[in-house]
Amino acid sequence: MNQQDSANIDPTATLSGQAVTAAPTEAPDAPLRQDPAHTEHLHAKSITENALEGKTMIKIEDLSFSYDKGKTNTLQNISLDIPEKQVTAFIGPSGCGKSTLIRCLNRMNDLVETSCITSGNIKIMGQDIHAKEVSAIELRKQVGMVFQKYNPFPKSIYDNVAYGLRIQGIKKKSVLDEAVERSLKNAALWDEVKDRLKDSALGLSGGQQQRLCIARTIAVRPKVILMDEPCSALDPIATAKVEELMLELRKDFTIVIVTHSMQQASRISDRTAFFYLGELIEYGSTTHIFTNPTAKQTEDYISGRFG
């Protein structure tokens, strides 16, 4: 799996990949970082605020990924840096590889036996996550994930939230109680369920179930939360609640979200990456991508001409 040594096998490809990439770290962002005093006036939830500050949490370098032992690459030469405590959105038409990429970040793709990284590497908090000495289990405790279809276990609400802690061997009731309350409060669900913690999680509405899944994820205190189209199965009201929650969570967590809804990306994300056919077309601050895209494909996609 660990293919970091092969990063340099095709230098031209790497170069071209980087050429397309809207230089993730320094150059294009410089003009956006205007006068800090000016940004103070912006709305609190404005996405450009602090957009490019903070240290890098996830560093993807020249990543190529294959689902079939390297015959065809689903992801090609992706390089991008995801900053800490911000919301980064991945957008793009179906099949562009955004979900694949997000599943690479906590090695969920290990479940697919034939999958492998053909070049490049991913560093989270400076550590190559495909290194031999990295345990996927420990990684996933730090990089949690919320799935497209909300999938609470058919257990009580309490048991769902406590699940992650219980499998870590925590049995003390006071610790669990405290963690469940904190997580549910963080997930803005506490007031709705505090009287029925022992009821089945399946009795909740769809939006509540998805927020429960988020609570379940944050209960283990990860550093990063990956969200794979978290609102695609929810109605607009539930979606609004989840989005509100995400904006709260970005204070404490680094959030990566895959979404099909461009409005959602523009509403909640600080940075946006646009993928097309397994390649990263453009990556930059959300305002920049939505107002002044560099690539033609990005412009076409966000203006609804395809995708």
Partner: protein, 705 residues
């Protein structure tokens, strides 16, 4: 209304008729099945329910026994223990026609309570009787005494004509026993010198029994079953032999006029003259030497000593023995060197029933009731039977087979579920798709189609004959023996005698030398101080049967477990893994609990299938008749007892039905047992099906996603 303006008017064409025909066929066949099923079940319930009603609870709590059909003369004041009276009523629904004057009364029996002291000498038969009267007593002795005096009792005087050779030996052993003067007479008889050619011959049981004590070397192809007295089996005479036999053996085994005797190539009468001594032994008690008793035993003197092996020497005190007073008399007279202490008389009241039989009639009794009524009226002689007919397995109830089937199912399901769930988890969760897994799946599909008799033979070969055992007394027939550690504890003398263990003093012999020596000494087991890993099989046992059934049901269990595992949404596994669970943690906490209903249903259905199988247990676990439940009659203690229990055979319900329905002659007397057993079996299977439906509904309601 004309059809012209109805665009949807019915069209009568051949398509329509075809449709109706097809529908009709389906209806007819569906109802045919239902009616056939109703017919079969109806017949079983119609015939079986009255049996259960009449025999009541005792049908479930009694072991299968032989049924005695007695022609009984009318009589008065017949006594029977109250508990057996219920059995009598259950077996004879027409009892009200001949049963009169039924009165209940208490019969007081006297018992002797005593302690048996260490150093006593006791005959093996008497010790056995003592143990059967006192359930928790089992004596492990280490020594026998061939010199201890033995006693016997004659109820009436006994005339004996004794052959010269025996007479000489007897007087030498104990010259005081016989009267001083014994008239001699000489008789001319003829022996037969016979030559038997090599070959295979069909012989009957009588001929076989007569041939056993002779010098003839022969080998039976098949043993004689007790339930088929008239069967003829093949015997092999390996080479031509000439033997001399006395007249009685000649007429039993070689008389060509009768069926099932051995043909002779040539025969010659050899006149012999024998001298006999005639004497009479008066009634009373005698005390003599064991050698003398062993000779007298040949002339019909009843005793329960084992004169050749000697009396058993007790090396421990046994306290609190209780025996009936009459047995106490026999015991003390027959064992003159018995040391007892603390004798006291205790009395116990038993409920008895006294009744009259108003006319000559036919009474059905099972073995237990027959024995107790006979012994209760032995003294008065009021219970007179003019003729008696027996029907094997047709009396009593079905507790033995039910327990046996239950144990087989439990062992089978433990093995099958453990292996099956493990295998299905591996196949569904861990194994990478590929040629290997495909081969396993294909093999499993094929395994599901293997006829059950083949599984029976497989189990016979693997579990009964070849399975590994760790033991200090390996069988001489073991396929392979590997010594492990030299830690064996020497088996007690009694165990050695019972199980034919050869004790080898040298401990440096190889396994083949050991088995050769032991076989030459006629032993089946061998002990030399080592603990062996021996490929000797588990014998015909519930363990072997359970494993065989498990093999048979495994494909079904694995397939359905896999189905229920893959029915658990992938999302649960992902969610669990994403929370930092290891693979096994996620399977244990997020997959198995939700696959549980399916696994449960599969196992209950597996149980119904396993409980009904006959063929796999025929060779591996089931016996047609066994008077003890599997855990009864085991003399070991602790963990050894558990092992012995696992290695004991049992009756099983399907095999019992096969026996009563197929192996014994059908008659009005055997019918109740047949229908009763089938109905009980059907009820069990149906209740399992009902449980499975109920469980599935219940658990499904609880766990939903």
């Amino acid at each position: 209304m004309g059809s012209s303006n109805n665009p949807f008017s019915k069209q009568r064409n051949s398509e329509h008729i075809k449709e109706t025909l097809v529908k009709l066929t389906f209806i007819v066949f569906t109802y045919l099945i239902i009616f056939a099923a109703l017919g079969i079940f109806g017949k079983i319930i119609y015939e079986g329910a009255p049996v259960l009603w009449q025999k009541g609870w005792s049908f479930f709590t009694k072991k299968p026994q032989t049924l005695f059909v007695n022609q009984v003369e009318k009589g008065e004041g017949i006594e029977i223990p109250a508990q057996n009276f219920d059995g009598l009523l259950a077996n004879n629904p027409d009892a009200d026609k001949w049963l009169t004057n039924v009165t209940e009364f208490e019969k007081t029996t006297e018992f002797i309570k005593f302690d048996l002291l260490s150093g006593s000498r006791i005959g093996s038969g008497y010790l056995g009787e003592l143990e059967s009267l006192n359930a928790d007593v089992y004596v492990l002795y280490t020594e026998r005494d061939t010199d201890a005096a033995v006693g016997f009792q004659l109820q009436a005087e006994k005339k004996i004509s004794m052959q010269q050779s025996d007479y000489v030996a007897l007087t030498k052993a104990d010259h005081k026993l016989l009267p001083a003067e014994t008239p001699e007479r000489t008789v001319n008889l003829s022996d037969f010198e016979l030559t038997i050619a090599a070959g295979e011959y069909p012989i009957g049981k009588d001929a076989h029994d007569a041939l056993v004590p002779t010098e003839l070397v022969f080998q039976m192809r098949q043993t004689f079953a007790d339930d088929e007295p008239d069967k003829i089996n093949l015997t092999l005479i390996p080479h031509e032999q000439t033997i001399t036999v006395s007249a009685d053996i000649y007429y039993a085994a070689f008389d060509e006029e009768e069926r099932g005797t051995l043909p002779v190539k040539s025969e010659q009468e050899v006149p012999v003259s024998r001298t006999f001594h005639d004497f009479t032994l008066a009634a009373g008690s005698y005390i003599t030497k064991p050698e003398a008793l062993s000779i007298l035993g040949k002339y019909g003197i009843q005793h329960q000593h084992d004169p050749l092996k000697g009396s058993i020497v007790l090396n421990k005190n046994i306290t609190g023995l209780i025996v009936p007073k009459d047995f106490w008399g026999i015991l003390t007279q027959a064992n003159p060197s018995l040391k007892t202490a603390n004798q006291s008389t205790v009395t116990a009241d038993t409920a008895y029933i006294r009744f009259d039989i108003s006319k000559d009639t036919e009474i059905l009794l099972d073995t237990e009731d027959r024995e107790s009524i006979a012994s209760a009226n032995e003294a008065t002689g009021k219970f007179v039977t003019t003729s008696e007919q027996t029907h094997s397995y047709s009396g009593g109830g079905v507790i033995g087979p039910i327990i046996g089937t239950g144990l087989l199912v439990i062992i089978c399901m433990l093995v099958a579920l453990f292996t099956g769930i493990a295998a299905s988890i591996f196949l569904n969760e861990y194994a990478r798709a590929g040629g290997f897994v495909k081969t396993i799946r294909l093999a499993m599909l094929n395994l599901a189609g293997v006829p059950s008799i083949v599984f029976g033979l497989f189990g016979l070969g693997l579990f009964v004959i070849l399975a590994p055992c760790v033991t200090s007394t390996p069988k001489t027939s073991s396929a392979m023996m590997v010594p492990l550690v030299k830690l064996g504890s020497k088996p007690e003398l009694r165990v050695c005698e019972q199980q034919h263990i050869y004790i080898c003093e040298k401990s440096n012999l190889s396994s083949s030398e050991l088995t050769t020596i032991a076989t030459a000494n006629g032993s089946k087991l061998v002990y030399d101080g080592w603990i062996w890993l021996s490929l000797q099989g588990w014998g015909t046992s519930i363990l072997a049967g359970g494993f065989t059934l498990a093999m048979m049901v495994l494909p079904v269990i694995i397939t359905s477990c896999e189905e229920s595992l893959s029915a658990v949404p992938m999302g649960f596994r992902e969610a669990s893994l994403a929370l930092g669970a290891s693979k096994w943690q996620s399977i244990r906490t997020a997959v198995l609990p939700y696959a549980f209903p399916g696994i449960l249903t599969a196992s209950v259905l597996g149980i119904t299938r396993v409980a009904g199988e006959t063929a796999p247990i025929m060779f591996t676990a089931a016996v047609a008749e066994k008077s003890e439940l599997p855990w009864e009659g085991l003399n070991s203690t602790g963990f050894d007892k558990f092992l012995d229990f696992l290695q004991s055979s049992a009756q099983a319900l399907p095999y019992h039905i096969y026996t009563v329905a197929g192996r014994i002659p059908q008659s009005e007397y055997t019918q109740p047992m047949q229908y009763g057993s089938v109905l009980v079996f059907m009820l069990i299977v149906m209740s399992f099906a009902a449980i499975s439906i109920w469980l599935r509904a219940r658990v499904r309601n609880k766990i939903k996603w």
